[in-house]
Amino acid sequence: MPRKLGILRFNMSKLTVAVIFGSRSTEHDISIVTAIASVIKPLELSGKYNVVPVYIDKQGKWYSDPLLSDINLYSSGNIEAFLSKLKPLAIRMDGKLELVLKRKKVITIDVAFPATHGTHGEDGELMGLLEMAGVAYVGCPMPAAALAMDKALAKTLAAAEGIPTSKFEWFYARDFAADQEAVLSKLADLKYPLFVKPVHLGSSIAISRVENSKALVQAIEVAAHYDDKVLVEEAVNNLIEVTVPIIGNHHPRAALVEQPLLKNSNLFDFETKYLSGGKKGKGGKSGAQGYSKLPADLPPKLYKQAEETALKVYKTLGCAGTARVDLLIDSQTNQVYFNEVNPLPGSLYAHNWRQAGVSNVGLVEELVDLALEREQESKKLTTAFSSNYLKQY
């Protein structure tokens, strides 16, 4: 049964933080868990903020109610019935970000905390909206988020800056549909095994590892089902996959280099990450999702190299707040390759930060501070310019 609607209780001396989650994305459900478990609850526990949950449903409607921060509402399947009693909120950009709720109740937001994954959120769209509203927001700025969420662009930029990447090609799904042979010939120089990825999706959704051209075509069709742009890249031999969560604006620092365990699968896929609880990665130290070796089992020099590469990628893409950089290592040649950047890591990688000595509460507090720092800096920039241009008309 739908619950009663909640009551917002605000302390005017505290900052009001809106945690925005859900959205039209294949990672909608993961976003709910990230928001509620790793963002909203720690923000509440910090005691420093008025926390406003803002839920974007799968149709793109925005809602806000205190009870939307209760995970049981979603896991019980009562969310639809609950939303039917709520009125979608309206957004007012009156020099600041305001949420207009039922009975014209207005909440002014001091800081927005995006907790969306994938499309229509993590990919820069939401950050663009927040930039327009002029509100401080947590995480990567819009250009960095858009770049990071386009694996092809991110790799192109990294390669241009001298950061090693595995050999890759990308193409539009429509081009593949129009002329399969032309696209396949473009891929002919790549050596199997290959990875086929939808360019914009996260959480390893629709990623395939292929050994021959027949499987390649099928994998491209799967990827093209989810995305309009497809990336095909060579697999790294003697692979060690590591991931490095990073926090900071101008002086970013890394948490621990973490080693997801692949074992029998060869692919760190959605199930391994979120559902199997580490079934595919037995023997590793338990992370938040129970699948990683933390810290990664690397020789000190290689560990340092991985950390430095990740930080270089972070800066090159213009990341701020937080992001997670995924790297591929050839354990024979000790070559570290950039793989991709996740501008809003699932659950903020709080399990990793906790082992690095930063609590989940400390993490969200620092992220809010970084957002405010970036907002202060952007206010110093001149955005208006007086000219005589219009006088000629």
Partner: protein
């Protein structure tokens, strides 16, 4: 306008809330009535725990439902009578009053059958059982050790049981059960072949300890400490001290071991008493102390013998009780290796300086602690142990009577002296005094005030990181909230 308190009063679940309040007050009318008087919103009384439906609880719940239902029906009947009967408007007013008053009437009325039951059945039965037990204790050939004090009784009793029980036949009162009927239950379990009996004495009211001594005939006594605790039942700390020290009087001050580390006990120490504490027991001296999260180790020696003791119990305040247990082991003829082995087997008891690891952080759970000496011991330990970040958590102490403000002020200073990075206080009536004490003690860290302790404890993992050390002391259950 918040209508929840009013609606909770007329909620269908009011009898459940009232039964829970009685159960949490251990069916003590005074405690229940005090809680009842300060409760505004009955929908929130079951916050930390819920009603456990024992047969007694079911009976009370049914009694309340029936009583309240009947009164409501009578009220409605009177109203209807007033409406349909010309000239009987008085009936409407009386009916309305009867119907409105039912929650108040039955919330108070429920204690009458309880008190009658206590007077007519429970107390006479208990008196008979205690009388039979008194005879059993008087005739028992074993050595009877009484353990009394404001705090640390159960831990002391368990330590003695572990050490002496390693080579002797020992019987003891169970858990923290320490009133006359529990002593009688112990007597009922005895075979008569025990070498040693260890009996814990609680403090329920002035005169209790003296009565326990008369009933159980102790040969020896351990007085574990004195601090403001249970002061809802004693008029003052002096009154509590007099009651506890009456045990020494019973023994003519012979064979009485007194915790010399307890500041408040010092005025009551007599020359015949043997003191135990962090420096040793009598002529036995403590040296080479090492304290860590893994436990406490030290050497205990006199001119002739030496014991190397290592326990998993945490903190310097454990040295006294550990030493006394070891020395009593020597007195009862145990060999040194047996004593050392028994001490090595001692582990922290649940919620009493109990350490556990949480995602790389160390938590010391001392939520059972309820006195200022415990806070002193805990904060000393927090100050002594190395950690990347030190976090201290407390709601404050309960049952401190007139000492409440002074004790919490002192608690604040003790906490500040441990130099924690973060202090977490559960918002309640003690918060102001602790905060004041923190300020006076020069606390420089971050102070967090928490509205919902249960929520905080349930999400502790979000607040800690690897390298943190968290000390959680004291806890306020629903009946103190």
């Amino acid at each position: 306008m918040n209508f929840r308190p009013l609606s909770s009063l007329y909620s269908f679940r009011l009898p459940v809330a009232l039964t829970y309040m009685l159960q949490s007050s251990e069916y003590q009318a005074k405690d229940y009535l005090r809680w009842l008087a300060r409760t505004r919103d009955f929908s929130r009384v079951q916050h930390r725990r819920h009603l456990e439906r024992t047969s007694k609880a079911r009976l009370i719940e049914a009694f309340l439902y029936l009583g309240m239902g009947l009164e409501l029906l009578i009220g409605i009947a009177l109203i209807i009578y007033g409406i349909i009967t010309p000239g009987a408007s008085w009936s409407i007013e009386i009916g309305a009053a009867v119907a409105i008053a039912y929650p108040f009437v039955w919330a108070y009325l429920v204690v009458i059958p309880l008190e009658l039951g206590r007077l007519l059945f429970v107390e006479p039965n208990q008196a008979r059982a205690v009388s039979v037990a008194e005879d059993i204790f008087a005739k028992h050939s074993g050595t009877i050790i009484a353990v009394a004090g404001s705090y640390g009784k159960t831990s002391m009793k368990e330590l003695l049981k572990t050490v002496l029980g390693s080579r002797k036949v020992v019987a003891a009162t169970s858990a923290n059960h320490n009133v006359a009927i529990e002593h009688a239950k112990l007597a009922g379990r005895l075979s008569g072949k025990e070498d040693i009996l260890i009996i814990e004495y609680g403090e329920g009211a002035p005169g209790d300890v003296a009565a326990f001594a008369q009933n159980t005939h102790p040969d020896m006594a351990v007085i574990t400490g004195l601090a403001p605790a249970h002061l809802n039942k004693y008029p003052s700390l002096e009154a509590a001290a007099r009651d506890i020290m009456s045990l020494s009087g019973y023994l003519h001050d012979k064979g009485v071991f007194v915790n010399g580390d307890s500041e408040a006990l010092k005025p009551y120490i007599k020359p015949a008493h043997t003191l135990y504490g962090h420096s040793g027991v009598g002529e036995w001296k403590v040296s080479q102390v090492k304290v860590s999260l893994q436990g406490t180790s030290f050497k205990l020696s006199n001119d002739k013998q030496e014991l190397n003791l290592s326990s998993k119990l945490l903190g310097r305040h454990q040295i006294g009780p550990l030493s006394l247990s070891a020395i009593l082991g020597v007195k009862f003829g145990l060999k040194v290796p047996d004593i050392e082995s028994a001490i090595a087997n001692t582990e922290p008891y649940e919620h009493r300086m109990q350490p556990y690891e949480l995602d790389g952080a160390w938590i010391i759970d001392d939520t059972y602690n309820g006195n200022i000496d415990g806070i002193r011991a805990g904060t000393e330990l927090l100050g002594e142990l190395p950690a990347k970040r030190k976090i201290y958590v407390t709601p404050g102490l309960v049952d401190q009577g007139k000492e409440t403000k002074a004790v919490h002020l002192q608690a604040g200073k003790l906490i500040a002296a441990a130099k924690p990075d973060i202090v977490v206080l559960m918002k309640n009536s003690a918060t102001g005094s602790i905060s004041e004490g923190l300020k006076e003690g020069g606390f420089k860290g971050e102070l967090k005030l928490i509205d919902d302790p249960l929520d905080f404890y349930n999400h502790l993992d979000r607040l800690v990181a690897k390298g943190d050390l968290v000390l959680m002391q004291n806890d306020w259950t629903d009946n103190y909230a």
